[in-house]
């Protein structure tokens, strides 16, 4: 499965990239699985997801919980709690 992964705010700064296209293994089924898999890619990802409870996720522009299934998704985004307004 190929996914576009986007990172925002301090998650972007810690991973050192704004977006990337990744081929994700079949067994990575949920957003939580994807976070676990990403953290194996290097210390910058370990740092970005060191406190998984404060990292939020969206699938195709919709907020989701970590147990959300990735099947059918094209774009996944990771970011801190929002602070607009």
């Amino acid at each position: 499965m190929t996914l576009k992964i986007r990172y925002f705010a301090w998650v972007r700064e810690q991973t050192g990239r704004a977006e990337e296209d990744l081929v994700v293994p079949e067994e990575v089924a949920s957003v939580g699985d994807l976070i676990a898999w990403l953290t194996t890619r290097g210390p910058e990802f370990e740092a970005a997801f060191a406190r998984p409870e404060v990292v939020r996720a969206a699938l195709d522009h919709v907020h989701v919980a970590p147990d959300a299934a990735l099947a059918g998704a094209r774009e996944v985004a990771f970011f801190p709690p929002v602070t607009g307004g």
């Binding site: 925002f8 301090w10 801190p80 602070t83 607009g84 307004g85």
Partner: protein, 156 residues
């Protein structure tokens, strides 16, 4: 209506555009959020707003749709800026119009409470010494949301 833009907005011109050609509106509420010069007791020299193009528009439209479903609004407008802003600059404008004031007041507060906790914007503040830091989400913003859930349950 939703607008996400880097440039400033003119509150008077936006309200005039909503009123133009109609006399059925009885109440117009505007809320403007602006950049403060102090955060956590420390002077702030600038703030940069990052957002998620594509999702921002989806979230703002969803929040506006919820307000339109809940109150008898004749018009609504959300403008949110992004990019680098300085103290005193406008950040966000919410306008609601209704035949009576209560719906306009409540819907404007609802729009602000929801967009603050769901629209994908992130603020980074710069201090006078050049240090930059991401603003943390506030627990009080989540508390503000709960009153709408309580109100809804009581009304059902």
């Amino acid at each position: 209506m939703i607008r996400v833009q880097e440039e400033d907005f003119d509150i008077g011109a936006e309200v005039a555009a909503i009123r133009r050609g109609r006399t059925d509106i009885g109440a117009i509420v505007t809320f403007t959020g602006t950049v403060r010069d102090v955060a956590g007791g420390e002077p702030i020299s600038a703030m940069t707003l990052e957002h998620y193009p594509g999702m921002t528009e989806v979230e703002l439209a969803r929040v506006e749709g919820n307000a339109l479903a809940r109150w008898p609004l004749q018009a609504s407008l959300i403008i949110h800026r992004y990019g680098r802003l300085e103290p005193g600059d406008n950040i966000v404008l919410v306008v609601t119009a209704s035949p009576h004031r209560q719906a306009a007041f409540e819907a404007a507060a609802f729009l602000m409470d929801y967009l603050k906790t769901s629209a994908p914007f992130w603020k980074k503040e710069e201090t006078a010494t050049g240090e930059a830091r991401w603003v943390d989400a506030r627990e009080s913003d989540d508390t503000a949301l709960k009153r709408w859930r309580r109100t809804k349950r009581a009304a059902e």
